[in-house]
Symmetry: C2
Subunit: 179 residues, 2 copies
């Protein structure tokens, strides 16, 4: 778990922090899925295994991308929080989602969030980052966004709408398992 430092190039250093097959997906689930606990992250779309998840969380904490704290409501639960460092990854996530949607065989339900983030542009990303700062850093709500529908709720609603539509419009949908 030592620091790599192959070179002082910003792209290389970024790759060394989250340039593996899992780190970015963990951050994605925290940012877009609102996940904060180990067990929640274990239920990722891509089925990460527990040893890898534990390892990556530890690494992300060491690198300042996350912080870890005890959950006051449950002695065994740990709460992971984003830091400003990982919150500022939101524009990159948005671009990555847009790029992937353009070039790769994405599924409709899993790319609807990316589509909305692309359409929303920097203004939407700023609101989202502001909300994440509230949730994870305990910042007080930014005046310009009070009363607005939270971005994650909008994205989630759009996702559920696609799932519902694809299922035929009338069937029940297990939102918890599918999100």
């Amino acid at each position: 778990m030592d620091v790599a430092r192959r070179s002082g190039c910003p792209i290389n250093l970024s790759v060394e922090v989250f340039g593996d097959k899992w780190s970015l997906l963990i951050l994605r689930d925290m940012i877009f899925g609102g996940k904060r606990h180990f067990r929640e992250m274990l239920r990722s779309e891509e089925a990460i295994s527990s040893n890898i998840l534990a390892d990556r969380l530890k690494m992300l904490v060491e690198q300042g991308m996350l912080t870890k704290a005890d959950d006051p409501t449950h002695k065994q639960k740990a709460i992971y929080s984003l830091t400003e460092m990982s919150i500022s990854l939101v524009p990159i996530m948005a671009h990555l989602g847009a790029w992937g949607s353009r070039w790769l065989p994405v599924s409709e339900e899993l790319s609807i969030r990316a589509k909305l983030m692309e359409e929303g542009g920097p203004a939407m990303w700023e609101q989202f980052m502001s909300e994440l700062r509230q949730e994870h850093l305990g910042q007080s709500p930014a005046a310009e966004y009070v009363g607005a529908t939270p971005i994650r709720a909008k994205l989630q609603a759009a996702y559920e709408e696609v799932v519902r539509r694809k299922a035929g419009g009338s069937q029940a949908v297990d939102v918890d398992a599918a999100s």
Copy 2:
């Protein structure tokens, strides 16, 4: 070398294409360093080894990020070209460079390009992408950029300026080896 497809999420699929420790650095060297040949890419800042480079180039070609062609001037040389798919990574590279420069211990000379790209914003990225389309896809020059200094030349000049200044202003600098 089979396709992964852990899920249809655009971020996951993107990670599966270039989310390893080397692919993005190879693309960086092609985009910002103008490298087209195997031996040039071997001389990366981070010292990639030849088997890994060969493997990644093969994979990037398979995935449509690069094309490979014979060099008409040299029977043994292969020329690798960017595709629209990899050229459209430029904004992500710019964001990644800016993010890395903000949060990680970058060196001044290796982050000056990222700084300029950030300051230049989307307008500069568009010009750069247009120039890459000329170089790699054989597109004819876009009218709005004829006569303008090419972006890569600007970035390279800024890099050399920093190296020169750091060396003391009067010493000779091996531009080839350091770039």
